[in-house]
């Protein structure tokens, strides 16, 4: 899919100087207080509707979702915290491979794994394939209380029932940045997704991983940074950071086996 040399010599050389970006994140888990600001602002930015009565935590749409986690020790010595999970924007996305009609694509210019709800016919194969549960299905049509549809963000199209959606790093904001850059006549833009802007403890750092000097690139290389399920080889572009070992240990499933895992959960 990458750009080949333009095959028509007369055409304007649009392609040559486009910068190839790899947007990514580093989320500092030690700073996350689990407030949920990222989830709320994400829902507002991306035109997610308030939940209907029947919707549950398993059918809801939370493109950014904060999971409560702990070290599975007994109370009261247990250590706990939160893991905010947007789409991991894998560089080798397992969801892209499986979509039968190219509704999922790894964007060549930004590295964003991108889901086109208008192309999607709702087979949900990508949801099964995603180990991060970052994909959400529209079990119903979205519905806003009367008048509230006026508050919708025009940079993002509302989705209809029967399609899958996911975090795409607030592409509406990326588009605005692109428009501005085009008017300004440069290709040197970046932007801030809603969750990054909203985090009250500035736990999320966002930027271009291709840019060696960016804060996000530097942080991603920190020995305390890690990625979830790295062994699956999906190459996520969302990194996590923690100075606490138990949090870093959340990255992979416990290879030593921990039989007490779901004890006390379902009695």
């Amino acid at each position: 899919m990458m750009a080949n040399t333009p095959n028509t010599a007369t055409a304007a050389p649009v392609q040559e100087n486009r910068k190839i970006r790899r947007f990514g994140m580093v989320i500092n888990l030690d700073n996350c207080t689990g407030c949920g600001s990222c989830m709320m602002t994400c829902a507002v930015e991306n035109n997610c509707a308030p939940a209907k009565e029947k919707i549950t935590d398993r059918t809801g749409i939370t493109l950014m979702r904060v999971f409560p986690v702990n070290d599975r020790q007994p109370m009261p010595v247990r250590q706990a915290g939160f893991v905010p999970m947007p789409c991991m924007q894998c560089e080798d996305p397992p969801c892209e491979l499986v979509c039968p009609q190219q509704a999922v694509e790894l964007d060549p210019l930004s590295g964003i794994v991108d889901q086109m709800p208008q192309r999607c016919f709702g087979c949900r194969y990508c949801m099964a394939a995603c180990p991060y549960h970052a994909r959400y299905f529209n079990w119903y049509d979205p519905e806003w209380p009367k008048g509230m549809e006026q508050t919708l963000n025009p940079a993002v199209a509302p989705r209809m029932r029967g399609v899958v959606e996911k975090c795409d790093f607030c592409h509406g904001r990326l588009h605005l940045a692109e428009d501005q850059a085009a008017i300004d006549g440069n290709d040197d833009y970046t932007y801030t997704p809603a969750c990054v802007e909203a985090c009250p403890t500035q736990a999320i750092v966002f930027g271009d991983l291709n840019d060696e000097d960016s804060e996000v690139s530097q942080l991603a290389k920190d020995p305390n940074s890690f990625r979830f399920l790295a062994k699956l080889g999906t190459e996520p572009k969302v990194y996590y950071y923690s100075e606490h070992e138990w949090r870093r240990n959340l990255a992979e499933r416990d290879m030593n086996g921990n039989a007490s895992r779901n004890e006390g959960k379902e009695a």
Partner: protein, 684 residues
């Protein structure tokens, strides 16, 4: 020539055979798919120019600065105001969805009286008539301290009534400190920014206390030890450097136990009244404190030593939404602060500069619980939009038999079922609002929230309604008053004081008040969404502090609060209930429409109306996940849904309030309010 069936078949066959050679099937297939991509019943956002409007969040007392992103005139999102001196560029989750509140399904679009639509003027006339008939007039102001509040106090004075304020849990520990300083004591605020060790008694400093994320930002890159004593494994408890899992209600015992160690080991600061306080502490041996709190004696001793050694240290009482602490417990925590030498010290409890006094002839603020029972004949309630947690029971007790209750609120919720009349007021962002000093803040501040949305024509601002009442009742000087006039008066007072500086959200600039030419100029800055913040308090000698419990009776009450912390009958089948609240799912406000993302659509919070219980406890009561239960306190009951959580203490049930009835559980009968109460669970 007759047409036969065969002819028709042939003709039809020809048509069918030709169909694939027409565009019909393909074009229709395409168009129908496009139809599914643009279902006519789906809303289409209209593009336009994006602009930002600066304003202030008035949903809770924290007063955060925010920018409303608008397309043409429609608000489409909220972003935090970078560099804001109060909120420091942070916002809580609810603020992000707050621009949708104007369209909340519970929105009250028309004022109502006795279940019928009514003109606000008619309601005002009814109020004036009742006052004229000699009924005692009262105003309950759920957001005291605003400029508009002075209008209420004037009205109360004119009507010979009372101006009631609810108990603000964040202010309670500061009031307790003030009580120790005697006559003429200054107002206090917490200076957590400069503290090195902070001990909180259940105060949710990291999740719901004041400005979100502020503590994390204060303490970023510094070695601040945050110790949290509480019964809930709340986010604050999880993220604290140390969590002391104390048994429900045992805060007073812990405060006394810590004080005991400080006194016994000679670590206490020099304060007055140590002798009588020692008499109290003598009845609280460390082992007894350990037994009541469920901690090890050694842990208490270590904590006390640490507070002393790693100063400046401060103890934060106050409940916020963790549930109220009793007066005696607050006194014990105040005493602990006194013993730590935290009163009047940087990194402790600092004296706030007094705010310029409001105009004269104001009725004094009477705390709701001090009002005479059954005395009020006409009650106006100005409801806070979100984040209030007050049981209706505490209000009902003060009402006379045939009292007229008028609720001023944009929503048909909260106390609405108890009010004879509801005045539809503008919703958040629809009218000029104000954000006075946040509770517990070390400095005064004042911000205005200009309207960024058009209010419905039927909505009447509280001040306008008060003016209607004043006109009917003939209260001179009030019938012309508006929110704006009250705010202008406050701006003038601030300008006259020449203190502090003004931060403008729009260009993130700061201007000293002394450099601002006129009061009107200051007002216009504030009305554009700027915030005024007082200067830091001048260094002054710490005030003289006297430990509580000088009187034998007071000592006994404190001791009782510490040794018998949980009220209600015990015995077989009893559980201890504690509130598991967070801003936004409490009783009298409305939920931000998207708040369901945090509970209903994820497991980040408990849902309103849930009873969290340890699976082992549930097994003892043969309760299943999702079962409906009746939580019965001695004089209140509440229906809740069981959810298992192995982070809940055994024998404890955490109640996430959904309606005001839940709060009634914790408005216990023994005078003050209580954080823990003994309940029984019955099947609903």
């Amino acid at each position: 020539m007759a047409i036969t069936r065969r002819d028709l078949l042939l003709f039809g066959g020809g048509s069918v055979a030709a169909l694939p050679f027409t565009p019909i099937p393909y074009k229709l297939l395409d168009d129908v798919s496009i139809w599914t991509q643009n279902f006519p019943w789906l809303p289409v956002p209209v593009p336009g120019e994006i602009t930002l409007a600066s304003t202030t969040c008035t949903l809770c007392p924290a007063g955060c600065g925010l920018k409303v992103r608008r397309v043409n005139t429609r608000p489409i999102g909220i972003t935090p105001a970078a560099g804001h001196p109060v909120s420091r560029g942070t916002l809580c989750p609810l603020a992000f969805g707050a621009h949708q509140l104007a369209w909340h399904p519970l929105r009250l679009r028309q004022s109502r009286m006795n279940g019928q639509d009514a003109e606000p003027a008619a309601i005002a006339a009814k109020v004036a008539e009742a006052v004229g008939a000699g009924k005692k007039f009262a105003i309950l102001d759920e957001r005291p301290g605003r400029a508009v509040s002075s209008l209420y106090r004037q009205a109360a004075a004119k009507a010979g009534g009372v101006y009631l304020t609810p108990r603000l849990e964040e202010e309670a520990p500061l009031a307790a400190i003030r009580a120790l300083c005697g006559e003429g004591a200054p107002e206090f605020g917490f200076d957590l920014e400069h503290a090195r060790t902070v001990l909180s008694f259940g105060a949710p400093l990291l999740d719901g206390w004041g400005v979100p994320g502020a503590m994390k930002l204060h303490w970023k890159g510094r070695e601040t030890a945050f110790i949290h004593a509480g019964s809930r494994f709340s986010p604050t408890a999880q993220l604290a450097a140390k969590w002391l899992p104390i048994l429900p209600g045992s805060e007073a015992a812990l405060a006394l136990g810590l004080a005991r160690v400080l006194v016994d080991e000679g670590l206490a600061a020099k304060v007055n009244g140590l002798d009588h306080y020692r008499a109290l502490l003598n009845q609280m041996p460390l082992n007894r404190a350990a037994e009541i709190t469920g901690l090890k004696a050694e842990t208490i001793a270590e904590t006390a030593r640490r507070l002393q050694a790693e100063g400046p240290a401060v103890a934060v009482g106050g409940g916020d939404l963790a549930g109220p602490l009793g007066r005696e417990t607050e006194a014990a925590i105040a005493a602990l602060n006194a013993l730590l030498g935290a009163v009047g010290r940087e990194g402790g409890l600092v004296a706030r500069r007094a705010l310029a006094a409001d105009a004269a002839d104001l009725a004094p603020a009477t705390p709701l619980e001090e009002a005479d029972a059954g005395s009020i004949g006409v009650l106006l309630v100005e409801a806070a939009t979100a984040g209030t947690a007050r049981p209706w029971k505490s209000i009902a007790a003060k009402l006379a038999e045939d009292a007229l209750v008028v609720l001023l609120s944009p929503y048909n919720s909260g106390y609405a079922t108890f009010a004879q009349a509801q005045v539809a007021t503008p919703a958040f962002l629809e009218s000029l609002e104000e954000a006075p000093t946040a509770p517990g803040a070390a400095r005064h501040s004042f911000a205005l929230a200009p309207a960024v949305l058009e209010a419905p024509e039927t909505a009447v601002a509280p001040a306008e309604f008060l003016a209607l009442v004043a006109a009917e009742a003939g209260w001179a000087g009030l019938s012309e008053a508006t929110t704006e006039s009250a705010c202008r008066a406050r701006a003038a007072a601030i300008h006259a004081s020449k203190r502090g500086s003004v931060f403008s959200i729009e260009d993130a600039s700061e201007t000293k008040v002394s450099e601002i030419g006129s009061a009107d100029e200051l007002y216009s800055k504030l009305a554009a969404g700027a915030v005024w913040v007082d200067d830091a308090p001048a260094a002054a000698a710490p005030p003289a502090v006297t430990l509580p419990g000088a009187a034998e009776g007071e000592r006994q009450r404190m001791l009782t609060a510490a040794t018998a912390p949980v009220h209600g009958p015990g015995g077989e089948g009893a559980l201890v209930a504690i509130p598991a609240a967070w801003t936004g799912n409490t009783a009298s406000g409305v939920r931000v429409p998207l708040a369901g993302k945090l509970d209903q659509e994820s497991l980040l919070r408990a849902l309103p109306g849930e009873a969290l219980i340890h699976p082992a406890t549930a097994q003892r009561f043969r309760l299943k996940q999702g079962a409906r239960v009746r939580v019965e306190a001695p004089d209140a009951q509440y229906l809740a849904t069981v959810r298992f959580s192995d982070a809940v203490m055994q024998g404890v049930v955490e109640i996430s309030p959904g309606e005001t009835e839940a709060l009634d559980l914790f408005a216990s009968t023994h005078g003050g309010a209580s954080r823990a109460v003994r309940v029984r669970l019955g099947r609903a």
